[in-house]
């Protein structure tokens, strides 16, 4: 090949990759936990601290685990979506109150509504570490065998729920 064409050819390849790069989102980081068993925990419940909440209780069910906190603004953005989803009854959403004060969390749910049948308390953030939580809110879809199937980083929106979460839940239910 003509050696004077070499710089141009290298450049064409680079531009090709840059073009593809534009369509990708570098901030989207896949969770290594997808396809793996959801880490076990046994945390006190928010409303009844003497009782515990554990993924083992939910074996055989498809469910969502939602990390949230009263101090988190993204959680308020997401809240109406969770309320709507809970009302539809298509999939249960279990909450994990992350690094929060108990009274403030209770007050927050009283004010904005409670979409969760059960809320666990992760005051020290240990559960969050095991799940690889970057920041709240984060939502995990967990299947009947207790495997993590999907992770949403940041607030859920109606579009994601309709296009990703619900089809996945239906597929997992039918298995």
């Amino acid at each position: 090949m003509n050696r004077f064409l070499l710089p141009l050819s290298i450049f064409v390849v680079v531009v090709g990759f840059l073009g593809i790069g534009l369509t990708l989102n570098p901030r989207e980081i896949p969770s290594p936990l997808i396809g793996k068993a959801a880490p076990e925990f046994s945390q006190p419940q928010l409303y009844e601290p003497e009782k515990t909440f554990s993924p083992a209780d939910l074996k055989g069910k498809v469910w969502l685990l939602n990390f949230w906190a009263s101090w988190c603004s993204g959680c308020k953005t997401e809240h109406p979506v969770l309320m709507e989803l809970a009302k539809s009854g298509q999939v249960p959403i279990y909450g994990m109150d992350y690094k929060d004060q108990r009274d403030e969390a209770v007050g927050w749910l009283q004010r904005w509504g409670n979409p969760y049948p059960v809320v666990g308390v992760d005051e020290a953030g240990r559960v969050g570490i095991n799940y690889g939580v970057y920041g709240v809110p984060e939502t995990y879809v967990i299947d009947k065998q207790g495997m993590i199937r999907y992770k949403q980083i940041g607030p859920l929106d109606p579009d994601t729920v309709a296009k990703k979460i619900l089809p996945l839940v239906q597929q997992l239910e039918s298995q």
């Binding site: 141009l8 064409v12 531009v15 570098p26 980081i29 896949p30």
Partner: protein
């Protein structure tokens, strides 16, 4: 009203740029001097129009006009005036305006200093720069308009990112852009030469000072960015191999290679094709850097907001400008022919080897920067490439380059004798080697890298001394000062720039080898000792700034019982965006920096505190400034001043003054 004037000025500038980018180039092709004559007034008009736009935006910031979207997004009524003005380049749209403004500034400079250029050459150069400007103006006017209105106006602005509220931020981007965009001149010279088909030594002589000036700005710009990261981010690091840093470093590497390659083309007529390619490369990498930073294809600490339309636009622009010039290169370069032949051991040979090493280093940085993107695009997973890769690839490429840097200036052009070089350099090598081996022991710790770093630094300095001695003994004059004055300033510039590298290497080596840091929990009154210095924490107090509130800690630093200094690190909360910033406190010194940054408040007035003792860290930036100073000396060389004087007084024959007055 004023913002509309700015917007309108940009539209007019675009029209002028289109004319400037087409008619003069066509005129040069067909030999029509009337068309060629358009270039100069068009370039000046464009400069004026973009200046008007730039001032209009500055006015909107100064007057706190929050009905302009960009002003509302990047400033705040409580922001001090100098930061409001710096906020012009605090985000995407304004950065582009600054880019374009500096491009037209360089164009204007070309119109001032190009009287000695043939008309065809000048019109081609300005035409090419006009075309580049078309791209940027179009980009601003279509998808990144800094004058977009916000109706109804915001009551209060969102404020400038607190990270950017720093004196370094006021100066760093303009410096960096002066460098980036300055390479457009060398690029335009190269394209003009390719278009005209006359790649001779004259072309290299003309573009040399322009390239050196741009290189100086880029060197200082990168150093300031690094220094700013050092004291503003509170991590105590000075270079992170972050994609955005790499984006500025790659043009620097290519530009450094270009500066040296131009010297060969100028003096010996060699390397022509290679020099042209480097000129295209340096500017292409500047554009690529702009793309990487502005499109958000890579994650980086410089998290800029991204808009897919913008990415597509810059990519298309990149493809046209770089693809077009490389195609022109592939078409025209084969006809240029080779310069004079030379032996492998000769100054040309060494410069060529250095060039290859610099370009290889640039290529490895480019690969490391884009590798995550390549893998992601091929769906092979997400990875990030970090400092271990860059350190392990970069250092082995640079070490031989720096070794050659010592020999190159001493070798003869065309053919040098190895035994002769060995004889001249044996003392320099012996002294460097022994000192580099012994010195670390004296300082209390020996590692191979420590000795290697010191060896390279000493080698550069000792070979510079040998070179200077030989030069002085050959130059005319009776006394030492006469002889020194007879050495041309471009030679001094080379020596100074090379010694800047040595100073830089000493800084890096010593910091890597001897720095100590500690993360401690400190109660009020407690002390911690690091690097022989004792820090006593005397608690924090609340202070209020113009647009922030802060907890300010007091640290009394002492050594051997004697007080060295008092440091006041701060933890600031900027009210407009409720953002928390760490303001490290630094006691700088020639031989060491003491660095304290506050972590988090703990119970009972205690804080988590990070303490650093960094020996020789300021040599890193000092070295960069010395390099740039070398560049300045080189362009103040007599022959450029003569050329400049000729332009100022074209009728009067230049009177060469006695050389000794010039150095005084």
């Amino acid at each position: 009203m004023i913002p509309e004037i700015g917007h309108f000025a940009l539209i007019l500038a675009l029209c002028v740029a289109v004319v400037q980018g087409s008619l003069p180039i066509y005129g040069a092709a067909v030999g029509n001097s009337a068309l060629m004559a358009i270039a100069k007034p068009a370039a000046r008009a464009q400069f004026l129009l973009v200046l008007i736009a730039f001032c209009s935006l500055g006015y909107a910031f100064a007057e706190k006009d929050f009905s302009v979207l960009y002003v509302a997004a990047t400033s705040n009524s409580q922001l001090p005036l100098h930061y409001r003005l710096a906020a012009i380049w605090g985000a995407h749209e304004g950065s582009l305006l600054l880019w374009t403004f500096i491009l037209t500034w360089w164009m204007f400079a070309v119109t001032l200093f190009s009287k000695h250029l043939p008309e065809t050459m000048r019109s081609r150069i300005l035409g090419v720069m006009g075309l580049v400007s078309v791209g940027f103006l179009l980009f601003m006017l279509t998808v990144s308009n800094p004058f977009e209105r916000l109706i109804p106006a915001a009551v209060e602005g969102r404020d400038l990112n607190p990270l950017l509220q720093d004196p370094g931020m006021v100066v760093h981007p303009p410096m960096l852009y002066m460098g980036y965009v300055g390479f457009s001149v060398a690029f335009a010279f190269a394209i003009a030469a390719l278009l005209g088909g006359n790649l001779d030594a004259a072309w290299a002589r003309w573009s040399r000072p322009w390239t050196t000036v741009a290189w100086c700005f880029l060197t200082v710009g990168i150093a300031m960015g690094s220094g700013w990261a050092y004291y503003e981010l509170g991590w105590g690091g000075w270079w992170f191999w972050d994609p955005v840093e790499n984006a500025s470093f790659m043009p620097w590497l290519a530009g450094t290679a270009l500066v040296h390659s131009l010297a060969v083309t100028d003096k010996r007529g060699g390397f022509k094709v290679w020099t042209v390619l480097l000129a295209i490369m340096a500017f292409s990498l500047s554009l690529l850097g702009t793309f990487l930073v502005r499109s958000g294809v890579l994650t980086s600490v410089h998290a800029f907001a991204t808009d897919p339309k913008r990415g597509t636009f810059i990519l298309a622009f990149l493809a046209i400008v770089i693809g077009g010039s490389l195609a022109l290169y592939a078409w025209r370069a084969p006809r240029v022919g080779l310069g004079g032949s030379f032996a492998m051991v000769s100054r040309e040979g060494m410069l060529l080897a250095n060039n290859v090493l610099l370009v290889a280093a640039m290529g490895s940085v480019l690969l490391g920067t884009l590798y995550p993107l390549f893998l992601d695009a091929l769906d092979l997973g997400k990875i990030s490439v970090g400092p271990p890769y860059f350190d392990s690839v970069f250092a082995p490429l640079m070490a031989p380059a720096i070794f050659l840097m010592g020999i190159g200036p001493l070798a003869q052009w065309k053919k040098a004798e190895v035994p002769d070089l060995l004889k001249r350099l044996k003392w320099a090598f012996g002294v460097s080697l022994v000192t580099a081996l012994v010195l670390p022991f004296v300082m209390g710790k020996w590692t191979p890298l420590l000795s290697l770093g010191l060896l390279l630094a000493l080698w550069v300095v000792t070979t510079a001394v040998v070179g200077l001695r030989e030069r002085l003994s050959h130059s005319n004059g009776t006394g030492l000062s006469d002889r020194m004055a007879a050495v041309p300033r471009s030679y001094w510039g080379m020596l100074v720039a090379h010694c800047g590298i040595a100073v830089f290497i000493v800084g890096v080596t010593m910091v890597k080898g001897f720095e100590t840091e500690s993360d401690v929990r400190m109660n009020v009154g407690e002390t911690a000792t690091i690097g022989g210095y004792t820090f006593r924490f005397d608690g924090t107090e609340d202070v209020v700034g113009p647009n922030y509130t802060a907890a300010r800690g007091t640290f009394h630093v002492s050594r051997d019982g004697r007080e060295t200094t008092v440091l006041y690190p701060e933890k600031r909360r900027y009210t407009a965006q409720n953002q928390v910033m760490t303001e490290a406190a630094i006691d700088p010194g020639l031989l060491r920096d003491l660095y304290v940054s506050l972590g988090e408040p703990l119970d009972g007035g205690a804080w988590s505190v990070r303490l650093y003792h960094k020996p020789f860290v300021d040599w890193i930036w000092g070295g960069c400034f010395i390099m740039a100073l070398g560049g300045v000396l080189a362009i103040s060389d007599r022959r450029y001043r003569l050329a400049w004087r000729k332009e100022k007084e074209p009728k009067v024959a230049p009177v060469a003054r006695p050389a000794r007055c010039e150095v005084a």
